[in-house]
């Protein structure tokens, strides 16, 4: 059963891919598999791009990932992040004020 406000997982996943590809000018990210870890170096995302991604999620889906997921488990992979967002999406944008914090940076210090 789909509860009201829930977004389609595949559509959210595609949205996140499209945003990442656009923000980084890297078309290969359009084909990122759901199992791909987003942070920690696997796809080379830097802290600035990661923060932009979370702000974009807040703007587009009304989900404050850093505020709602205190352990940030949802940031493990593209798939976990998309699922977290899809479950909480509020069509029409932000439903609550909040300032998403930056994600953890790549651990090599870049």
């Amino acid at each position: 059963m789909t509860r009201a406000g829930q977004a389609d997982l595949a559509a959210v996943t595609d949205d996140l891919r499209a945003f990442l590809a656009s923000a980084t000018r890297r078309d290969e990210l359009l084909n990122l598999p759901p199992t791909a870890p987003l942070f920690g170096g696997t796809v080379g995302l830097d802290s600035l791009t990661g923060t932009l991604l979370l702000r974009e999620i807040h703007r587009r889906f009304g989900v404050d990932v850093a505020g709602e997921d205190l352990n940030l488990d949802s940031l493990a992979t593209l798939g976990t992040l998309a699922a977290f967002v899809a479950q909480r999406a509020r069509p029409g944008g932000p439903a609550a004020p909040g300032t998403p914090r930056p994600p953890r940076p790549p651990e090599d210090g870049s």
Binding site: A23, D46, S47, T51, R101, P102, E107
Partner: protein, 260 residues
């Protein structure tokens, strides 16, 4: 305007020739900044042998070869630069992590002193490594130091203003594009350079101190002195060094050649 950086005195070793002339670890507020372009560097199997287990594991974890190459170049150049200050072979340098002063988690990478009695070789240099796109920068100083560079974002960066200090967000809000876009990235690299200098993880946020709007002058903030520095076209960068006072940059630009 950004003041021109000074080229190191002649005779200073280039990082690819660490055995020729030893670089002196800078004192006081002096920071050496080494720049590399990952496209200019061929990574050889012999070079990869200089990376430690952790670096090799991280390199192996990259999904795309281009990301792996940039990471390998960044860490090989870091080791060659540090070798030029310490006289230790790049592959024999031991890197560790300092605890984040905020949460205690393993964070800022540091060079560990060699085992045994205190080295006659002189002080252990502090360093900071950053890479973005094809650009790699290594900052070296006698005090804690931080450097950050960012490729100019293709998308709108306005949402980042909200992660900065409220005073910075307020003046950024008054700027017109494209100045605003550039100023937001400028604030970001300054704030991240400060955090990398103090060792506090960026995951705790970077809006607890203001870093704008002065671009040219040294800014004392959060126990550091920070300044915007000249970066390759399409990039912005900032350097921070621990303590108050004047920051003197010695810039070492150029082609690193091939690691061994």
């Amino acid at each position: 305007m950004i003041p021109p950086a000074r080229v190191p005195p002649s005779g200073t070793a280039r990082p690819e020739n660490p055995g020729l002339t030893r670089n002196t670890v800078p004192s006081g507020g002096i920071v050496d900044v080494w720049w590399f372009d990952a496209r200019d560097v061929t990574v050889s199997p012999a070079g990869l042998a200089d990376l430690d287990r952790d670096e090799r594991d991280r390199a192996d974890a990259f999904m795309f070869p281009a990301d792996r190459h940039r990471y390998q170049v960044a860490h090989l150049m870091l080791r060659q630069v540090l070798a030029s200050y310490t006289g230790t072979a790049p592959g024999a340098l031991v890197l560790g992590r300092e605890a984040c002063p905020h949460c205690g988690a393993a964070g800022k990478p540091v060079l560990l002193p060699p085992p045994g009695p205190p080295p006659a070789a002189g002080p252990v240099p502090s360093f900071s490594l950053t890479h973005s796109g094809d650009v790699v920068a290594v900052a070296v100083a006698g005090r804690p130091v931080g450097v950050d560079t960012e490729h100019d974002a293709a998308s709108c960066v306005c949402p980042l203003a909200g992660t900065l200090h409220p005073a910075d967000a307020a003046w950024l809000d008054g700027l017109a594009e494209p100045d605003r876009h550039q100023a937001i990235i400028a604030c970001w690299v300054r704030a991240e350079a400060v955090l990398k200098c103090t060792g506090q993880g960026i995951g705790h946020g970077l809006g607890s101190f203001p870093v704008g709007p002065t671009r040219a002058a040294d800014l004392s903030v959060n126990g550091c002195t920070v300044r915007q520095v000249a970066a390759p076209p399409g990039y912005q960068a900032a350097v921070a060094v621990a303590g108050p006072g004047h920051l003197t940059l010695r810039r070492a630009a150029g082609r690193p050649g091939r690691p061994r």
